[in-house]
């Protein structure tokens, strides 16, 4: 597979580095749904010959890049309601079919953001639970249980330094035991039957991470 760019693996990754890392791990020809927000950056790092087919839950496969000026068509948007484009090979379908595709296990990978992920792969990414917050779930719960692999992209710590990888989620859950891999600015974690395995670190070490996180960590397999 082609690596799209060389990232700085010496220090914490920025958003683009994380997106490049996720893109590198998406197999040739996979059917992929990229969540709203940061995960959409992954599309920019997929090589032109990747053959990856992007799904958008409002009803399109082989979605193209965001529309440039002059290409905007109000009838053609992604799930974030951003105008997109229609490459050759695209198809359209209604919402029940689109979610049947997701819930029926036909998508290979979905990439989502998260507020918290638990050590066993529980995901919290739809609602802060704050008393004045207006809950809005969209397709997050359907993707969490539907895609063959669920990848999360997030910073490992909140702005105030609290870990987002936790023993148990304190935010309302999106799905139980559904996350397979977590890409963060400091490390990549695989959720395996044996436990949480650190497969890569960026500007930190397994020991340092173990000291900052309240979850047991396994070293990468040699």
């Amino acid at each position: 597979m082609t690596t799209t760019r060389v990232m700085n693996e010496q220090g914490p990754l920025n958003k683009q580095d994380m997106a490049a890392l996720v893109a590198r791990d998406i197999p040739q020809g996979a059917f992929v749904n990229l969540g709203i927000g940061q995960p959409t950056l992954v599309a920019d790092h997929l090589p032109a010959d990747s053959g990856v087919v992007l799904h958008t839950e409002n009803g399109m496969l082989n979605m193209g890049p965001a529309a440039k000026e002059g290409e905007v068509d109000p009838d053609l948007t992604n799930a974030g309601k951003i105008p997109v484009t229609e490459p050759a090979g695209a198809s359209y379908f209604h919402h029940a079919d689109s979610f049947a595709m997701m819930r029926g296990g036909h998508l290979d990978i979905c990439v989502m953001g998260a507020f918290q992920v638990s050590a066993t792969g529980d995901l919290a990414n739809w609602h802060t639970g704050a008393p004045d917050a207006i809950p809005a779930v969209g397709g997050a719960m359907d993707l969490a249980i539907g895609a063959k692999k669920v990848f999360v992209m997030m910073t490992l710590f909140t702005k105030t330094g609290a870990p987002k990888l936790v023993p148990e989620c304190t935010y309302p859950l999106t799905g139980l035991r559904c996350v397979d891999r977590i890409y963060t600015d400091l490390a990549v974690f695989d959720i395996t039957p044996q436990g949480l395995r650190v497969t890569q670190t960026f500007g930190t070490t397994l020991d340092e991470l173990a000291g900052r996180l309240d979850v047991p960590l396994l070293a990468a397999e040699a």
Binding site: T56, E57, N58, G59, M60, D73, P74, D75, L76, T77, N78, K81, E86, Y92, F93, H94, H95, A96, S98, F99, A100, M102, R103, H127, D132, A133, I134, P135, A136, V137, G138, G139, A140, M141, D142, I145, G146, P172, L173, T174, G175, L176
Partner: protein, 223 residues
């Protein structure tokens, strides 16, 4: 019953009763039946339950209906958006009820209503707030939640083109909820960009067959 071609959106929405459940198509503005919503505002039905993916954007369309105080309850997947201030204010001041439904359940519950399915078991939301208190069942080692249909009294949908028999085609991602909602309501009203002679739509490309469509109106020309 054959499809009624209406000259004006006001004619198309005539007779919608207070207390109705109204399915409103569209995902953001794509497929949003704005003329029909504006006509419903003029028509005056109140105490409505609105089923739609979002809860209105900006100050027009669904947001305008909400702002008039005509909606008692919204059933949707994603009410909170950067421009959902009308809904946000009604919700925070306790003037509107909200039922948040995962987007796939919203679509599938309407599909079930339209297909005569009494209920279905679905894995979405197991162990979350949104399925609390719902019946669950273990099937082949996986936990599923029992979900019931959502049926509308009325569906307001936007499509691209209709023929005189009410066969509909959509355009690009504006298709979204239209075909599902068209099956799930007692009275289905479609706003389209053009009405063509019967036979002018290739039968192989019809997405919503006319059997589902009760009234059709051509949307107003926009400046």
């Amino acid at each position: 019953m054959t499809t009624l071609l209406c000259d004006h959106a006001d004619e198309a929405v005539a007779g919608i009763e207070d207390g109705s459940t109204v399915l409103v198509g569209g995902f953001g503005m794509a497929g949003m039946p704005v003329d029909l919503i504006d006509a419903l505002i003029r028509q005056g039905a109140k105490d409505l339950t609105v089923v739609s993916n979002n809860a209105g954007n900006g100050d027009t369309g669904l947001a305008a209906l909400l702002a008039k105080g005509r909606v008692r309850k919204v059933i949707c997947s994603f009410p909170r958006q950067a421009d959902s201030w009308v809904f946000d204010d009604l919700y925070r001041t306790g003037r509107i009820e909200l039922e948040v439904v995962p987007q796939g359940n919203l679509a599938e519950r309407m599909r079930a209503a339209g297909a005569g399915i009494g209920a279905f078991f679905c894995p979405t939301g197991v162990g979350t707030l949104l399925t609390e208190g719902k019946e669950t069942r273990e099937i082949d080692g996986r936990t599923y939640v029992l979900e019931y249909p959502i049926k509308g009294d009325v569906a307001l949908i936007g499509a691209h083109r209709a023929d005189r028999m009410g066969n509909l085609v959509y355009r690009k991602t504006a298709r979204n909820f239209g075909p599902v909602m068209a099956t799930a309501a007692t009275t289905v009203i479609a706003q389209v960009r053009e009405i063509v002679e019967t036979g002018a739509i290739d039968p192989e490309t019809v997405v919503t067959p006319g059997i589902y469509v009760d009234r059709v109106v051509k949307e107003a020309d926009r400046a």
